[in-house]
Chain length 172, copies 3
């Protein structure tokens, strides 16, 4: 199994930028697996800013729902950066798909990969309990998904103010 990393963090914590640096360290021709589907101008601007930051050495693949196939098709071609699991979860829930089964399948698919894989995800559970029931369900799902993937990867990091803090493995 090739190296796998999960980096989590809050909004604008620098996690995508850190992950991009790691992908370039892991291979000359990294593959960006984008889960985002722009629904409004705000998200379009955010995706465009991310794309502009990456250089011409990147190949971009769109995978809003089927990450397992995206990993299998790109395996052997270079390190993959999946950005991000939060939009993927949001897409699965929007289409009323079984995100728990999808998370298990994704974690299992990792075991057979020959190219490195880096996942970017978000911490969304460190504020006051949301009044909105859907928001509560989403933050519970996001936490469960993060735990599932964290257990499957080699290394986990928490991004804070642009720097990665090591979560797994550690000495505690």
């Amino acid at each position: 199994m090739a190296k796998s990393i999960l980096i989590t963090g809050g909004a604008r914590s620098g996690k995508s930028r850190i992950a991009e640096g790691w992908a370039l360290d892991l291979g000359d021709a990294p593959i960006y697996i984008a889960t985002g589907q722009p629904f409004d101008a705000e998200m379009e601007a955010r995706i465009a800013a991310h794309q502009a930051r990456r250089g011409p050495e990147w190949t971009t693949v769109q995978a809003p729902l089927d990450l397992v196939t995206a990993l299998q098709k790109s395996d052997g071609q270079g390190p993959r950066l999946v950005d991000c699991l939060t939009l993927w979860l949001s897409n699965l829930m929007h289409h009323e798909m079984d995100w728990q089964q999808a998370a298990v399948a994704l974690a299992e698919a990792l075991a057979t990969q020959h190219s490195p894989t880096i996942f970017v995800t978000n911490e969304v559970g460190l504020g006051i309990v949301p009044e909105n029931a859907l928001a509560r369900a989403f933050r519970d799902a996001q936490g469960a998904l993060n735990q599932r993937l964290a257990a499957a990867v080699d290394e986990v990091y928490l991004a804070v103010a642009g720097y990665p803090m090591k979560v797994k493995p550690n000495g505690s």
Copy 2:
């Protein structure tokens, strides 16, 4: 004074599961001190899922308000897992009791315990300032309570994606 630990983290960060593992490491017959009082179906389901995960070696004690008595009565019988300080604080505030005095008394009670004690709590102050004044008051109280207990215990951890990061003691 027996060993004492505080583990904090966001929703679905794995903190209860980590704490349960530690309690089993600290003794064969751990005592689960539950602060939760189910007010609705959502909380009932959450409590039931936690109970189902724990095995028959656990004894469960209900202590929605008087944690000091629960610790004193169970002392000498095995490691105690208090899950969680957030529901305890919520109960105290709901009954308009003096949570600051209760926090001081709880921290002081720790010093005379002969069995280990593990506290689970939540980080709720890392989002945008809530518009709701009660939510702001709660997150301030939760932060103050966490600081009070963290100062009283031997070790503090932050749970992220199912893994504990050491907060206290550290080398910084």
Copy 3:
């Protein structure tokens, strides 16, 4: 360039108290650079509580907008504690000033300082995406500002339950 530190964290995580301890360690006559402008009774009470906690060895300077001038005027007089960047950002945005340019200028000003500088800031991006567009814009700006300053200082810490976790430099 004198030593510079950024400490970030959630509400009531103990970051101001930790930073005050560091400032006293760095010099006998620390300077408190306050960015807060009390708009309501809640904020007035919070500022008063902070002031009461600090002792007579402190000098207080008000700098709601122009931090660069406050740093330059106080340079050579003792360690400076800027508390906090979140209120500063809020003030800049309230006055519709260019916070990005201000952040660059502040980061650049650090390079010429002869006295130590400690910045306190907040993590606000670890909850569910706010429904309010202004809140979303603020948390994005806060995250970007934190990254900018974190890159410019020598050390970065995350405060959790009253204890600092080292973010930069680290071994990861």
